[in-house]
Amino acid sequence: MSENKPKQENLPRVGFYICHCGSNIASMIDVAEVQKYASGLPGVAVSRDYKYMCSDPGQEMIAKDIREHKLERLVVAACSPNLHEETFRKAAARGGLNPFYFQMVNIREHAAWVHEDKKSATEKAKDLARAAIARVRFHQALDKKRVPVDPNVLVVGGGIAGIHAALTLANAGKKVTLIEREATIGGHMAMFDKTFPTLDCAACILTPKMSAVKAHPNITLLTYSEVNKVEGYVGNYKVTVKRKPRYVKEDLCVGCMECIDACVFKEAKFPDKFNQGLGKRKPVYIDFPQATPKVVLLDPETCIELKTGKCKKSCAAACDRKAFDFNQKEEIKELQVGAIVLATGFKAFDAKRSPQYGYGRYPGVYTALEIERLVNASGPTSGEIVLRDGKHPKAVGIIHCVGSRDAKTNKWCSRVCCMYSLKLAHLIKEHSGAEVYNFYIDMRAPGKAYEEFYDKLLGEGVHFIRGRVDEVTDWAMTPDEEGKLVLRVEDTLAGFVRRIPVDMVVLSTGLEPQADAQEVRRRFNIGCGSEGFFQERHPKLAPVNTFTDGIYIAGACQAPRDIPDTVAQAGAAAAEALALIDAGFVELEPNTSHVVEEECCGCKSCVPLCPYSAITFDEVKKKAVINEVLCKGCGVCAAACPSGSIRQNLFEDDEIFSEIQGILK
């Protein structure tokens, strides 16, 4: 039962380096004192401090020291391993030392930046340094495993982000599968009329990309489909996809839409989700003229044949291509892909959650998406601004930040609703000539040519009132408010409460995560914030990566984002996926676990613990075996092996016990 202290003489020669990180560390930790202290610790052959360890001279110093002083271990006290562990491993390798004879000490994020007393921060740095120097003695030489990468890519979400990523990957010659939950790709952008700040028509810039997707030989488009299950690991994902039945054969239908005319329902009766319920549609329908694929589908909730089986199916009769199939079933497909780009987009804030604005109570109150459909030439009113009661509004109020920047609903700024409110103000003024009032808290126009667009609106005579609207009411306090919707607002610039009577109110609702964000992110094993936006690996250095290698994110699923930034991110995500695939292999971290065969008694305690079924039981040898490729390196089995016969590389018992001992002296 001996202590595991190695004898004094045969200690490996350790090089210890502490970084100033400019003043980030040096301002709160006495780096010289730590350097001096470490030089006295057993096994330490070299102890230096330097202003920027991660800089080229810093790394070069390490490599040179390793060669000159024949160092056998390396410890660097600087920032978080999540940031520069790789950098210093490479520096060690350049010096001829196995990169895993290295241990990093986090004294910036975990000490210098979070403590205010220099003495105790330095004390902490010394403890952590001592622990790392004690630990690194037990490090073993390891090397990263190489695993081939499947060249195919999966893009989830057919909005502008998914479309752009898929096209970029396909143009690079990769086989891409683009999956979209709705019956057509295009996402929210397809609903818009114009886009800011250039007022390009959304359809004009989106439709070519959608048809490019449809036509591209490298892209397999699976619409009306969802990802059911994801298995495997970076470079080798097996994805199960569920295709909902359209009751129409996709390869036969050419979108001539004659079946719609022939449907037993003479007029369109059912609320049309694409037009935010403003327009109507029949049980057989197509979302919008440029829908891609241009294929109709049947709504099982409202189609008589699907519900009762007793319809004369005039739609099928009218279809000379015999594309209808009333007993089409849900289809399950399996895909093998090396990388996955998630571009699942956002959900608009439900205006009913702010009852003070009267959405759903006053017919004159609309959401911004509804207005996008009204001003749209292919919308339910062919672009005419008309109220539900048929009248044309003379005054329109647009309320910014509905649901956003509000402790009761969503705390975050939705980044786009100022700009699209300006755009809608312009379109409404242009289409209806009405007086337009924009109620804003702060006018946020940060993008290229955004501020200029705001200036343009000021020039067009739109009224801008700075204040958060308290309520929308149909109570007329004075005769001129009769029959109007009155917006009560404290005009913070004028300094008094105003009541603005209007005929139509537009609620610029903010962006929030999709309703099923939590299930989706669990399915893809990535993180997300409590509100549901997917978590990027690093907000600045890795915005489109996630903590799970091989899975990338782009667009509004990660945070509220406008179209220019979304497309930029889609390109970045495609580039990251290409980098992974073109490398042809991926290096797996070597911190996997393995069973020491002669020590294993065959008690099978470990076998059920592995969620990746990397542990199997060899019935012949009566021993547990770990498949190193499937093992993700969590270490649960190493902790659980009752006879200590499973080791986890880089996190062996000796290493952690020595770290504990190092910390507590």
């Binding site: 999540n82 105790s120 799970t548 270490g635 504990i660 910390i663 507590l664």
Partner: protein
């Protein structure tokens, strides 16, 4: 010396959630007590109850274990194993006279930088109030009773050798 007792707390943070949250607390320059020393593990499920006992035995006044919220584990179910083991370990620690918040299990996600701050500040305050655990000190006290007898027995042996030297 009337200098206030400063507890030493050993923390095991899982790499994907709590360690990242601690990094986030650093990036956001949140300020918290310097009493915690963090040991990084890939998953809270790697933390063997032996580590917790060893930390106490070597002089830790508190041990903090940070993992992902149930359902968030990067390895799907590692933190459930942690919860099962540590619920029993807490009972055994109580049976051995160590309780009242000296050992603490917290679920902290990668986005909860401020939770790292509040947990560390709160635990430091509570353990400081509990005072030093100092098991090494106790071990030395308990073993004092051996020194006297050892001296006595060795003294006699000199006498015995003398008589039989011949």
């Amino acid at each position: 010396m009337n200098e206030q007792f400063e507890p030493k707390i050993v923390a095991f943070f899982c790499n994907w959630c709590t360690y990242t949250a601690a990094d986030l607390a650093g990036v956001s320059r949140l300020k918290y007590a310097p009493n915690v020393r963090v040991i990084r593990v890939m998953c809270s499920g790697r933390v063997d109850p032996q580590f917790v006992l060893d930390a106490f035995a070597r002089g830790a006044d508190g041990v903090l274990l940070g993992g992902c919220h149930p359902g968030d584990c990067h390895y799907a179910e590692g933190n459930y194993k942690t919860l099962r083991r540590m619920r029993m370990l807490e009972r055994m620690l109580k049976g051995m006279g160590i309780y009242d918040g000296r050992f603490r299990l917290e679920w902290i996600s990668g986005a909860e930088g401020d939770k790292v701050k509040t947990v560390i500040n709160d635990m430091t305050k509570k353990v400081r109030a509990l005072g030093p655990l100092d098991l090494p000190g106790h071990f030395r006290d308990w073993d004092k009773e051996l020194e006297e007898l050892e001296a006595h027995v060795n003294k006699d042996s000199k006498k015995a050798e003398a008589t039989h030297a011949g």
